[in-house]
Amino acid sequence: MAKLKLSIKNYEIIIVAVLFLTSFWLWTLPLQSSNVPFGEGDAAWQFAAADQMYMQNHASFRIPSYLGNWYYGFNTILGPNAIEYPPPYPLNIALSQIFGGDRFVSAYIMFALLDMLASISLFLLIRKLYGILQGFLAGFAMVFSMRDIMLYLLGQRGSVISFTFIPIALYSFYMYITTPDSDKKKNVYLFTTILVIASQYVFHIQGTIVSVGVIILFSLFMWLKNKKFPLTINSLKNNWKLYSILVLLLLIFTMPFLLIYFGAQVTNPVHINNVSRLFSWYKVSDQPGYTQGNVAGYPLIYFSFSQIYNYWYLPFLIMGIILLLIRREPKDLLMLSWVIGVYILIHLDVTGYFSVQRSARMLLAETALFYSLITIGIAGLPSLLSNFYKIKESSIKTIKYLLAAIFIIFLVFANGKAAYSTLNGAYSPILRLNPYQMQVSDWMASNLPENAIVIAKGTITYPKIRFMLAISQRYVTNQAQNLLDLDVITQNDIYYMLDYSDLVLLGQQDTINSQLEWEKLNFQNSTLIYNQNNIHIWHGNITVFTNGQ
């Protein structure tokens, strides 16, 4: 047996293990408390997209009508019933359902696992570029990143996953650029860069835009620094076979899914507006909804520096940027490219090209960046101070580790505590499907035709209606008027579900009574086909096409 020697490489694996296991425990807390699916509408859609693959043992560009009806005609090129994400993303979840053996738990373990990966990708980047301490601090901070956690819980999981790839894509390209031509590993890094970007692309294109944008900026900086463009005509000529393979690989993994993104692309005409936003990092006080506490669908906490990070981290963040500007080594140029890239992308709404909703999602690229800068600032501050004051070498180290220890304490007791309480308290039982709603979903799956349209009234939240859609594999909705107007469905396809189960659990007797009265009035000519556990389903002669909620 090989001699067991605890080298620095082994510490790296141990740190990765600590980051991974902590994240896994923390991010699966909502699943540990209950195995019923959770999240908002997007979460239900993404679960349903995977679940239909699992149920059919088949994946395709097309989706069943119960899912296609949800955003009917969303993709203007591929037409109705086209999948909205590249199939490999939900296929990850479907494969975990197949081989993990549980429709809900396996799927949600895989969702959590893919969403929590920012800590290890950032650890690799910062550890290799700046050192093990900085790497650990940045990676550890990402375990508790409230912005990522919020979107993971709400259900924009493809976006969160895609943004976790940015540090690893940057690392891979950085290694390609900085590895000498004579080293065989140089080309390996080029391959990994292409494969990481192709892999990132199948989750969400926005993350890929950040990676590619920063890579382009970094290449320009390196060009200016070395006065030599990273790619020369000679190297293209000498390595044309290699580059051809890489281009081919990229095309194989991206082209088949291109129309999924571009068919759904909502492009706004270029129109410069609100230029003053360029002079702040991300201003939301001028946006509609701000006073109501919600901007472009995001709660204000999503934009708040103090709640996503901590005001105490701000001096270190600024210090980190100052250090990068002073040193301007290749690794610093990479980080500066990231800063500039994110700044440009989160301000694209000023040009009118991006909506505020899209540019706000780009802020997901900011958390890993800011935590990197903060840790660079923490580790670099003592050395910087030693240029102005006489400080012993040993004291520099002591101050550095002291600052790191204070940062960890803050992380655990401020960010960690908030992350824990958010994840542990997320989606209490009443906000998830109750056993009666699960039961009626199973009944619908077995007893209603595949093209059935079920309008649900009384279920307390919209996401719960959509999770019934996912589980029943029938189009459960809050209204069907738009599909009737489009002639996609007929009146006979419509079923009406009166769901009192939530209201009974909440003890809302007045609402129950008024809904019972309403039911009596509206379904006199219809047939009651399901009547169990305070849930009724009517069919035939339905004349109401909305739940009024």
Partner: protein, 117 residues
């Protein structure tokens, strides 16, 4: 790729044992949290996604940390894409995934036996 030019820690197989220990710890945690389903789901992820690609990447000279992290990220999108492409021809996800897994394992064996690069 042989061990020439590598430092002692890279030559050591301990980092692979460390990875094994990490995998074991993750499996134990998943059993503790989610029972048999946790074990099967994480076991599937490790066996299908991580282990074969880790050894392929390591073969090409990446260190243990790089190989592990790259294997996590590259396989997350590329492997299901391969399964998806195959599933367009073979109408079963299970069979498509098994074929891709066999190809992965064959690639590892082929690389380490024949020392292509």
């Amino acid at each position: 790729m042989d061990n020439k030019g590598k430092n002692s820690s890279e030559k050591s197989v301990f980092s692979d044992y460390a990875l094994l220990a990490f995998s074991a710890a993750l499996l134990i945690l998943s059993i503790y949290l989610f029972g048999l389903t946790g074990f099967k789901t994480i076991g599937f992820w490790l066996i299908f996604y991580i282990i074969p690609s880790y050894f392929i990447l390591k073969y090409f000279g990446l260190d243990s940390l790089e190989s592990f992290v790259f294997s996590v990220f590259i396989t997350a999108g590329i492997l299901p894409a391969l399964v998806f492409f195959l599933n367009l021809v073979i109408p079963s996800l299970v069979i498509s995934a098994i074929i891709i897994f066999v190809v992965e394992i064959s690639a590892v064996i082929l690389l380490y036996r024949n020392k292509f690069f």
